[in-house]
């Protein structure tokens, strides 16, 4: 209990650090445009203006102009991010397990090759990749963008899963094998133990996919274009609609926030350890 005072302080600091910029953005989205450039600064959005949100949600002066593309791009973002997350989870659990638990020829080379791709800048493969995606007929499709994201994020996932499997005592798998579990069943049996690792992979992947900009910009410019790309379109030639962009940004972080809050329960409920008492 005595420890909780510094802990509360640190946690508050962390929350402040994470939240303050976002709060500021929320403030920006809730102020009438003209109030953004008045001094003294308004720390609280008064007068409150819901105009940006009304416009975004199709109940404002701009009708459905913004709402329809917003809705579509949100759907695109959700579909591609979720798809990527599931695919990355699948691939990285399988490969991570293989790299952690099996001895096989070329293992280090294979692992090295896969991990090296983490260091590649997106630009370095963009143009050849563009040709490939077009040849596959996947340009501007959910499948195309999901596959590209997957190829970009799975290597990190593999690494995280390998490390997660490495920390599980081998005895548990041994027990499963002796009990007659097939390799697939064995993997399934210990899977609950790597849930924190999987949640980390899922969170990382979902959020990375969610905030991608350059790749979807080039590879899914329109039909499959995500919210990140849409937001840039609120930039005008002579003025940037900061309020609208901020509001869209706030809306854009709601789905990932929900995902993270849902997943975080599993991230912190480690099964390997009991609670540490103070």
């Amino acid at each position: 209990m005595r420890k909780s005072i510094p802990l509360v302080a640190v946690v508050s600091l962390i929350v402040l650090w994470s939240l303050l910029p976002i709060y500021w953005s929320l403030r920006t989205s809730l102020l009438p445009k003209i109030e953004l450039t008045t001094t003294p600064l308004k720390y609280i959005p008064m007068p409150l203006s819901l105009e940006n949100y009304q416009n975004l949600l199709g109940i404002g002066t701009r009708g459905n102009d913004v709402w329809i593309p917003l809705k579509n791009s949100l759907i695109n973002s959700i579909v591609t991010s979720t798809g990527t997350t599931l695919l990355v989870l699948l691939l990285s659990v399988l490969a991570g397990y293989a790299f952690s638990r099996f001895a096989f020829k070329g293992k280090n080379l294979l692992l090295g090759t896969i991990l090296v791709t983490i260091a590649l800048p997106a630009y370095s493969v963009m143009i050849p990749l563009y040709r490939i995606i077009i040849r596959l007929g996947l340009l501007d499709t959910w499948v195309g963008i999901t596959l590209i994201f997957t190829s970009a994020f799975a290597p990190l996932g593999v690494w995280l899963m390998k490390v997660a499997f490495d920390t599980i005592p081998i005895e548990l798998e041994e027990a499963a094998m002796v009990d007659g579990a097939s390799p697939a069943k064995t993997l399934l049996t210990i899977l609950p133990l790597v849930v924190p690792g999987m949640v980390a992979v899922a969170t990382l992947t979902f959020l990375s996919a969610w905030s991608q900009f350059v790749i979807p910009l080039v590879f899914s410019p329109q039909n499959a274009s995500p919210i990140t790309v849409l937001i840039t379109q609120f930039v005008g030639r002579t003025s940037i609609d900061y309020g609208l962009m901020s509001a869209a940004g706030i809306i854009a972080i709601i789905p990932p926030l929900l995902v993270v809050m849902f997943l975080s329960k599993y991230l912190v409920d480690g099964l390997m350890r009991g609670a540490i008492k103070n």
Binding site: V218, V229, T232, Q233, G236, S239
Partner: protein, 412 residues
């Protein structure tokens, strides 16, 4: 579902293009209303798929696609300063064959998109610069007469500052982004000179050149007279607009012509009643300005060139040109339309705009150098350095001159 609608259409063209979908890639300020596009579909049977992207991404997309040998869209935006590069790369369909001479005749700014005798784009946005002033501040500082030369303008700014009317009267951006170059380019013209010679040699190196004086104007304004906000080091073009409309400055020296409507919109602006548009003050009172035209081009790899041409043609009908101006503030290129609008008093800024229009020049009368994009990047980066004090005026100008020389060497 599409076919049903199109059979309803009485137009002849509907048959030829029926079922065609036209991809159009444009920056946000061209976000045509669905109703307008529906009209086009009704007329021609062509369905328009409009992709809107911010300016930089737009360029990235166009470059990536073209480099990959794929059309980024069937119609794309084209900037005046990409002409050299895109023309050389052969990424654009020459449009001469698709439009007759009469068509070009009416477009005053057509030559900006000419590459080796071929029109590789049709102008759409006739962007040029004017000067906006906040006449209340001028009045408060006791200045009655509007400035007509750059030096007068500077003097007025100093007076306004000294009188305590406004801390930083002169608004210019100094970030390392595109908009930063505009005031220098414009002032170079205003000082009666050019940036580059016929052979693309730098003309701004010597201290008495227009280019040098223009830069001196800006840097001294910032450093010596302190009439420019030091914050402008972080300003982009839009920040200048935002500050001006918030009443945070007295002079928007290189303002978009289209901003009149913005500055006079009470929902956006605090200076509705005090803003005034004037011609860009020029040496000896001779105002000059240059156009930053945007056009529409058809990528060479497009598979729907006919339909694309049809779309461009449709946008250039007099009704639509006028409509684009009224709805979206896209300043027309068509001489006939400008005259018509001026006559009907629909041109904001009224008389001034009409007077300015004939003075619009090309920044590079000799044609846009192929390396213009590099030069522009180097220019705004250097201006940003000078503004921050990381380079002196002379160092900066010499560096820019050297850059041009180097670029000339490397690109035969």
């Amino acid at each position: 579902g599409n076919n049903d609608k199109q059979t309803d259409s009485p137009e002849a063209g509907a048959k030829k293009f029926s079922g065609t979908t036209l991809n159009v890639l444009l920056p946000p300020w061209y976000e045509f209303s669905p109703a307008m596009l529906d009209d086009f579909t009704k007329e021609t049977g062509i369905k328009v798929d409009l992709q809107i992207m911010d300016w930089d991404p737009c360029l990235d997309k166009i470059v990536t696609s073209n480099a990959a040998g794929v059309a980024p869209a069937d119609v794309t935006v084209m900037n005046w300063d990409w002409v050299g590069k895109f023309g050389a790369a052969g990424w654009c369909e020459p449009l001469n064959n698709h439009f007759d001479d009469d068509f070009f005749e009416d477009i005053t700014t057509r030559s900006l998109f000419k590459y080796k005798d071929q029109y590789i784009a049709i102008p759409i946005y006739n962007d040029f610069r004017v000067t906006y002033i906040n006449k209340d501040y001028f009045k408060k500082a006791g200045i009655e007469r509007m400035p007509t030369t750059p030096d007068e303008l500077m003097q007025d700014a100093i007076t306004i500052k000294e009188k305590g009317v406004c801390e930083y009267p002169l608004l210019v951006p100094f970030t390392a982004t595109g908009a930063t170059t505009t005031p220098w380019y414009l002032l170079t013209k205003a000082y009666g000179g050019e940036l580059l010679s016929e052979t693309n040699e730098p003309l701004f190196a010597s201290k008495d050149s227009a280019g040098y004086k223009a830069m001196e104007f800006l840097i001294k304004g910032l450093k010596d007279y302190q009439v420019i906000d030091p914050a402008s080091i972080g300003w982009k073009g839009t920040d200048v607009v935002d500050n001006f409309k918030a009443g945070q400055g007295a002079i928007d020296i290189a303002g978009w012509a289209g901003n009149v409507s913005l500055y006079t919109n009470p929902k956006e602006s605090k200076i509705v009643d005090s803003v005034q548009v004037i011609k860009v003050p020029g040496q000896n009172g001779k105002s000059r300005t240059y156009g930053l035209q945007e056009g529409l081009s058809v990528p060479a790899k497009s598979k729907n060139k006919e339909a694309a041409v049809e779309f461009i043609r449709w946008l250039n009908t007099p009704e639509n040109v006028e409509k684009l101006f009224i709805d979206k503030g896209i300043f027309p290129n068509h001489h006939s339309t400008i005259v018509k609008l001026a006559n009907e008093g629909k041109l904001p800024g009224g008389q001034t705009m009409v007077e300015v229009l004939p003075t619009i020049e090309s920044l590079f009368p000799q044609g846009v150098p192929e390396w213009n994009m590099e030069f522009e990047t180097e220019t705004f980066t250097t201006m940003n350095q000078m503004a921050k004090g990381a380079m002196t005026l002379d160092q900066g100008m010499n560096h820019l001159a050297d850059t041009v020389k180097k670029l000339n060497q490397s690109k035969p």
